[in-house]
Structures are given as C-alpha cells and as structure tokens.
C-alpha cells in the first residue's frame, strides 16, 4: 500500500463524519432531538475512551468518572460565565482542574496495590456533588444557569479527534505499554523497572483530564448544569460503555458509547421500561460476549485497507 494513498484514506476517514454531519446540520436536516443525541454521543465517547484508559488499559477500577466530569464542567462554566474567559482556554483549564483532582485522589490510593481506587473514587464522586450542592457561588442544588451555548459540532468533533488521537498515541507508546504491564501483573511490572505508582497516577489523571474536557463541552451545550447531572449513575453509565465495548479496546468504547447513547435516546419515551430493556441487554451481552463487543481488539484503517487490497489481488504499487 502506497503511503500517500494511506494518508489520503486516513484523512477521508477522519473528515467524512464531520463534513457529513456538518452538511446535514447546515441543510437543517437534523432535528433538535437528533442533534442532542449526536452531541451526547460525542461527549460519551470522550468519557468512555478516557475511562477505558484507566480501567481497561491500566486495570485500575475507577467509579467516579462523573465526579471528574463535574469538576471540568463547573470549572469551565464558571470561567466563561462569570470570569468571561475564552471558550478554548476554559475547556482546557476545566480538563486540567479535573486532572488535578485526579492527582489528589490518585496519589494516596494508587500507591497501594488493590482496589482502593474504586472506593476512593466512589467517595470522591459523592463528595464533589455534596460540595456543589452547597456552594452558592455555583448555584447550589439549582445549578449553574445561562452558560453560553458555545459547544458546536465543530468544537465537539475537534476535541473528540484529539481525545482519540491522544489516547491512541499514549497506549501505543512505551508509557502506554507500561500501563498494560501493570494491568497484566503489577509485581512483574515493577521487577522490570517500571515505576508502577507513577504510571497508575499518570493514566488516572490523563483519563480525568479528558473527563473534565467532556464536562466542559457538556456544560456549554446544555446551558444548565446541576450537581444531580453528575451522579453515580452517570459514572456507572460510562463504566457500562467501557465494559460493553471491551476493556482495553478504544474502538469498542467508541461503538458502545454510540450504541448506548442511541439506545437511551430511543427508549426515552418508554420511561420505566427503559431500565428493564437496558439491563436485559447488558445481561445478554455479558452472557454471550463477556469480554465485551470488541474484546481487546482494535479496528484499524490500515489493516482494513490491506485486507481489501489483498482481496482484490496484488496492488499495483
């Protein structure tokens, strides 16, 4: 496969969804409801992929992703709404704030071997909600209202691509492999010279950075954020996406995030049936594909093109 041709297809694959949706939006062919679903898909993909980095690739169970999302959402919203900072800066600072919160939770708990992180993050999610409920500056339980709607499809898609590239680049580097080693066998990892605490903290706060980013994008799409939007159920939702897609598969997280967001949207009218169908689906997947939809495999454009090339016979170049 010629390299130039590969880069060309890569660009096409990268830009096609963006151009297509942007075109449909411009032509007014996407309803408000569909648009909300679409934006939620993007946000959920960022959340699921970043949680997968922590749970699937590094093997550390974290149950408070919504808490870190809240930190990012509130930070970014306060920055644009009250301090009138530019959107991009606010988003990034939101991500950094979430990342810093991740450091605070991660440093003491990730030094230990075992599932202490799960308990700490579970607590963190609830503490954040408790704090937000009681701080008048950010609206207390009523939440922050009137956040400018700055999150457009273009912004969202841009950050989605950045997240995917960032996580993929990380995972396919010496640093990502150190995380994989920790997931596989923490003791063996340290005996080959890997600083396991450092890498657990890096993966955790990097994942939290993207969660914070997702929070900022969320806040600037829905005008309003309330502490109750970031409850344990949202953390759990994201975890379900990660497990369903496959622990350790970015492609799986993307697919599962899209599928579950769509399902949530479709089942909205069914109210109480929604949870039943949702749970049934989960049970079925866990029975028939306990490793998740993708397991640990990834879909790769290069491989796909290669296979297609082989099927067609030897390529000309």
């Amino acid at each position: 496969m010629a390299k130039g041709k590969y880069i060309f297809w890569r660009l096409v694959a990268l830009l096609l969804p963006y151009v297509l949706i942007q075109g449909l939006l411009g032509a007014g062919l996407i309803s408000d409801f569909q648009q909300i679903t679409l934006m939620m898909m993007g946000i959920n993909i960022i959340l699921a992929v970043s949680l997968n980095l922590i749970v699937g690739f590094t093997g550390q169970l974290a149950l408070g992703h919504a808490g870190f999302m809240a930190v990012g959402a509130y930070t970014a919203a306060v920055l644009t709404l009250k301090i009138h900072q530019p959107f991009l800066l606010s988003l990034i600072l939101g991500g950094l704030a979430a990342s810093l919160a991740g450091l605070l939770v991660g440093l003491p708990t990730l030094r230990l071997k075992g599932d202490y992180l799960a308990i700490a993050t579970l607590g963190f999610g609830e503490i954040i909600r408790g704090i937000l409920n009681n701080v008048e500056y950010v609206g207390g339980a009523a939440g922050l209202l009137g956040i400018p709607r700055l999150t457009t499809w273009t912004w969202l898609y841009g950050f989605l691509v950045l997240t995917l590239l960032g996580v993929m680049n990380f995972v396919n580097s010496t640093h990502g492999r150190a995380c994989l080693a920790i997931r596989e066998d923490e003791i063996a990892a340290e005996t080959v010279g890997i600083n396991t605490t450092y890498y657990k903290v890096v993966a955790f706060s990097l994942g939290d950075f993207f969660a914070g980013l997702a929070g900022g994008l969320y806040a600037h799409y829905f005008y309003l954020i309330q502490p109750s939007s970031f409850s344990f159920f949202r953390s759990f939702d994201v975890l379900v996406m990660v497990v369903l897609g496959g622990l350790g598969s970015i492609t799986g997280s993307v697919l599962a995030a899209m599928g579950i967001t769509l399902l949530n949207a479709l089942l909205q009218d069914l109210a109480e049936f929604r949870m039943i169908i949702y749970s049934l689906l989960l049970i079925l997947v866990m029975i028939f594909r306990p490793q998740g939809l993708m397991g640990r495999r990834e879909w790769s454009l290069a491989r796909w093109l290669e296979k297609r090339g082989e099927a067609r016979g030897p390529a000309g170049s």
Partner: protein, 259 residues
C-alpha cells in the same frame, strides 16, 4: 568490592522468623546456588534482594550502594533482575510486547513525545524493536513473537521470562527454580543454556533450585538454608558432605538402636 554484600539480614512474618542473620558475599561473575527444603526462606531472600519486602534488620549492598528501602523498580534499574518460581509474564500481551516492556527504563522518550508522536518516538521505537528482535532470536522465541505469552508452552514461558529479565539489562540475575517442572533431558539443556547465558551477557547468577544435579553441576558456591538460617556455605563437595546439610535433607541420624 563485592557485587552484592548481605549482612545480618533478617525477616519476620508475624512471629515467624523467615530469615535470621543471613550473610552473603557475591563477586562479579559468580554462579551461586541457593538450596534448602521447602519453606527455608529462599524465595523470601530473593524478595528482600529485589525490594519487594523490607527486611526487619540487616543491610544489602549492591555495587557498594545500600539498597534496603529502595522500591523494586529502582533496584532493577541498579542492575538486579529476577524471574519467579511460578512464572509471572504479561500473559495477555504478545511475546514481542513482553520484551519491549522490559526495556522501559533504559529506552524511553517523554510523555509529550508519546502524546504528540514527535520524531524521537520513531527513532526510539526502532531501537526497541531491534533489541527485541535480537533477544527473541537469541532465545529461540522468534517463531512465537506474535503469540500471547500465556499461550506459549511451559518451557518457552520460562525462557521468555529470562529473556524479559535480560531486556532490563541486569548485572545480577536471580533465577527462582528455573528447572521446576523439567525432565532430566531438559534440565541438562538448561544447564548448558545457563552457562551460555552467563558468558554471553557477562552476568552474575544467583539461583534457587531443587534439582541437585543442576545445582551441583553448575554452581561454584552453594548456600544452604534451613528454617531461615544459613546452615552451610561452600563448594558442591563441601556442602554435600556437611552433616548439618545431610540432616536438613534426610533427618537426624539415629544412633541409639534398641538392641
């Protein structure tokens, strides 16, 4: 200066003294065996040397530096690597990745380089790939390079674990029962392999082993542990004839036969 000096090393688990006042001197290029009945404290000694446990008392000096209290990854970086009695590979990762990961501390680039895929990324990754390929060929693991480590035959898993330890560039290699589960033929092959390994990589070897033919045929000096105590040190002949060693392995001699 000795490569490794252990002085009065003691370790306790609860009220049980697992090791008591162990003294050891290992010179560069030594090939040393550690033997003793089950529960004698052999693996505990390895866990202390690699920083996985912190000793109750005593000192461990490696190349003149006190390493007590250092975390395991720092000790590895100073030049001590090990294998485990019940093989610990990165099971779900490929053979290739197992070796790549072990070069982590000496072949790396910054986090920013990784995230942005800056030029050093490709250069260093190529170096890693070259060394990985070399090691796999040397250890006859080339044909398995895309296999998951857990799917390898037992003997190959043992070899991969040694190859992985070497990828971390040790000067002192600790092998915990490398011959476990091998038949006499395989054990003989292992002996030749260990000799080659020691020369090829200019290593100092410390090995725990139950297979006496291997230990006696290979090691220059043997440390015998029993109930956490060092009961004998010496050449294979000296150790074999030591009454205390015989007692530890065969039980006490019974002198007073009832007529």
């Amino acid at each position: 200066m000795a490569l490794l000096e252990v002085e009065n090393l003691s370790m306790a688990f609860g009220g049980l003294m697992a090791l008591l006042n162990i003294n050891m001197q290992v010179e560069e290029g030594d090939l040393i065996g550690i033997i003793g009945p089950n529960g004698a404290g052999k693996t505990t000694l390895f866990n202390l040397l690699t920083g996985m446990y912190r000793p109750l008392r005593g000192s461990i000096r490696f190349r003149g530096q006190d390493i007590v209290g250092l975390p395991p990854h720092k000790i590895t970086r100073l030049g001590i690597a090990r294998t485990f009695q019940n093989i610990r590979l990165f099971g779900d990762l490929t053979v290739w990745d197992n070796i790549r990961i072990a070069q982590h501390w000496h072949r790396n680039y910054g986090l920013g380089v990784a995230l942005l895929r800056l030029p050093p990324f490709h250069r260093v990754e190529e170096e890693i790939a070259r060394e990985t390929q070399l090691l796999l060929e040397m250890f006859g693991l080339e044909p398995y390079k895309h296999e998951k480590a857990r799917n390898l035959p037992y003997g190959e898993q043992r070899r991969l674990e040694i190859a992985r330890a070497l990828a971390a560039r040790p000067r002192l290699l600790l092998l915990d029962e490398p011959a476990a589960g091998m038949n006499p033929q395989e054990t003989r092959e292992l002996m030749a392999f260990l000799k080659w390994l020691k020369e090829e990589f200019a290593l100092t070897l410390l090995l725990i082993e139950h297979d006496m033919s291997l230990v006696m045929g290979l090691c220059q000096r043997i440390y015998v542990l029993d109930y956490g105590r060092l009961i004998a040190v010496g050449t294979p002949e000296e150790v074999q004839n030591d009454p205390q060693v015989i007692e530890a392995y065969l039980g006490q001699e019974v002198n007073d036969f009832a007529p």
